[in-house]
Symmetry: C2
Subunit: 299 residues, 2 copies
C-alpha cells in the first residue's frame, strides 16, 4: 500500500475513505477535512470568537491545534473537575499546551463553583458521568457568554457521537435524538455549539495528535471504567469489525434521514433561572439546585 | 425463590416481569399471556381462519400448540426449502406434530415451485437468508389465500424482533421500520399477518416447548451460521447482560413511540404481478422473475 498523494509509505489506511496516506499528507488531509466539516455544517467562520472546551485529552487538544492552524480565533476553556490527581495532571497538560500555542486558556475550578465531582456524585446519587455532563454543559455556556465568545466547540469524534447515538436509540430517548447534531444554533440563552471532529474516528484523531507531538493526557478518567459510553463504543466496534463502514453510515444516515424528523418535534420550554439567569427547564436551574443542596449540607 | 402463585420450586425466573413460576403455573401463565398479546394487538379472534407458518422449530410448533389449546382454528403450513437433510428432518417433525395434534398441515415443496434454497442462492448471489425470506413471505401469502385462510401467524419471538429491529436501525432502513409491527392488517392482496409470541424471550418459548414435550428440531439451519440475525442477537444479549430489561424496552418503546412515526411515511405502491397476480413492486414480481431465470437456465 502507498500514500495516494505522494506514493511514499503510508502511516494510515482509512477503509471508509478508501484512502492511505503518509505522515505529511495525512496531517494536511486531516486539517482540510476539518475545515470542510466546519463549512459543511456552517459551524463558524474566522469572524467568530470561539471557545474550545479542552479536557487535556487527545481530541480537544488536537482540535484546538487545528483550529488555530486554520486561522480561527480560538481560546481554550478548562473546567477543573476536582477528580484527584487526574484533574491536576490534565490541567498541567492544558496549561503547558496553551503556553506552547501562545493562546489564552480560561480555567474554572468546579470546587470553588459548587463542589468536586466525587462529592456531587455522592450528593445526587446520580452516575458521576451524568452529573459531570450537566456541570460541564452549564459552565461551557455560562463562561462563553461571560467572556464574549459566541461559539463553544468540543472535540467529540465519530466514535463518541455514534456510540452516544446508539445508546439513545436503544433507549429511544427522543428528546436527546432531537438535539443530536454536529452544530446547534444559538438560542434562548445558549451560545452556538459545534463538533468539528464528528466525522473523524478515534484512531484518526489519536494519530493526528501523535504525529504533531501533542502532549495529551493518556490516562482515562477514573470514573470512565464503568461508563456506559465505553460499553457502547465496544458494542459499535464489534459491529464495525463484522460489517466495516457501519459506524460512519449509522451516524451520517442518522444526520441525513432521521435528525430532521426528530428535530421538528424537539420543543424545549426554557426560562431564565431565577438565581443565575442561565436557561433552565424549571424556576431554578439544576446546577443552582445542586449549589443549594451543597450549601445546606455545609451549614 | 418460590413460585409466585403456589409457592412451589420455580422452573423459571423472568426478570423483566419480576416473576418466578413453577412448571404448571408457567405453562398456564404463558398461554394466558399469549392470548393477552393476541387481544392487545387485535391479531385475530376464534372466528378467523388461521394459518400457522411452521418450520419444525420450537417457536412455531409451540405457537401452533398454544393457539389450538386456546381454541383458535389454526392449521399448519410447511414450506420445504430443499436444504438437504435439515429440511427432511424438519418436515418429519412438523408432520408427526400435526398428527399428534390432530391438525391439518399443508406442505409445499419449494423445489417443485421454483428451486431449492442452495440453487437460488447461487443463482441470485444474494445471501441465502435474504432469498429464503422472500420466497417464504410470498408463499405464506399465496397459500393462505388459495386455501381460504385470512390470517398468517409466525412464531417470531422477542429476540427475533428486537434483533431485526436493531439491524434495521443500525442501517436506518426506514421502509422496513415502517412495517415492523406485531400485526399487519390485510391490504392490497396481502392477508393479515401476526406474531403472537413477540413479547416472549427465546428462553421462554424454549421452556414452554420443552415442558410440553414438543418434539421440535433442535439443529439450526446450516445457512444460519453466518447470518447477521444471529450476530445481532448476540449483540443484544451482551447489552441485555449489562443493562437487564433493555431488549424488552427497546422493542416495546419502538412500538409505542417510533412505529407510529415511521408507519405514516411508509407508502408502498404495489400492483398485481402480471404472471401470478400476487402484490408486486414491479410488473413482474421478484419470485416470478426468479422462476423465469431458473427456467431460462434449464433450457
Amino acid at each position: 500500500m502507498k500514500c495516494r498523494i505522494c506514493g511514499k509509505k503510508p502511516v494510515i489506511y482509512m477503509p471508509h475513505h478508501r484512502l492511505a496516506l503518509c505522515k505529511e499528507d495525512f496531517i494536511s488531509w486531516f486539517e482540510r477535512y476539518t475545515d470542510r466539516t466546519i463549512k459543511e455544517f456552517s459551524m463558524f467562520s474566522p469572524e467568530d470568537r470561539i471557545l474550545v472546551a479542552v479536557s487535556g485529552g487527545k481530541d480537544s487538544l488536537a482540535l484546538w491545534h487545528v483550529l488555530r492552524k486554520l486561522g480561527y480565533e480560538a481560546d481554550g476553556f478548562y473546567l477543573h473537575l476536582g477528580i484527584g490527581g487526574y484533574s491536576e495532571r490534565s490541567r498541567n497538560k492544558v496549561e503547558s499546551f496553551a503556553k506552547n500555542l501562545g493562546a489564552k486558556v480560561i480555567v474554572v475550578d468546579l470546587r470553588e463553583e459548587i463542589a468536586d465531582i466525587p462529592q456531587l456524585e455522592r450528593l445526587t446519587s446520580r452516575e458521576a458521568c451524568s452529573v459531570c455532563g450537566l456541570v460541564k454543559r452549564y459552565n461551557f455556556n455560562r463562561v462563553a457568554k461571560e467572556h464574549g465568545y459566541n461559539v463553544v466547540v468540543t472535540g467529540h469524534n465519530l466514535d463518541d457521537e455514534a456510540s452516544s447515538l446508539l445508546a439513545n436509540v436503544i433507549n429511544w430517548n427522543i428528546k436527546y435524538l432531537g438535539r443530536k447534531f454536529p452544530v446547534l444554533e444559538e438560542e434562548e440563552g445558549f451560545v452556538k455549539k459545534a463538533k468539528p471532529f464528528c466525522k473523524f474516528s478515534e484512531k484518526e484523531t489519536a494519530l493526528y495528535a501523535l504525529l504533531n507531538g501533542i502532549d495529551f493526557i493518556e490516562e482515562e478518567c477514573p470514573f470512565s471504567e464503568d461508563a456506559s459510553s465505553i460499553f457502547y463504543k465496544e458494542i459499535l466496534n464489534s459491529i464495525e469489525e463484522k460489517f466495516p463502514g457501519t459506524k460512519m453510515r449509522f451516524y451520517l444516515e442518522y444526520l441525513r434521514k432521521m435528525y430532521p424528523r426528530f428535530r421538528e418535534e424537539e420543543e424545549r420550554t426554557l426560562q431564565p433561572c431565577k438565581v443565575c439567569g442561565e436557561p433552565s427547564p424549571s424556576e431554578i436551574c439544576p446546577v443552582c439546585r445542586l449549589k443549594e443542596r451543597i450549601a445546606a449540607k455545609r451549614t
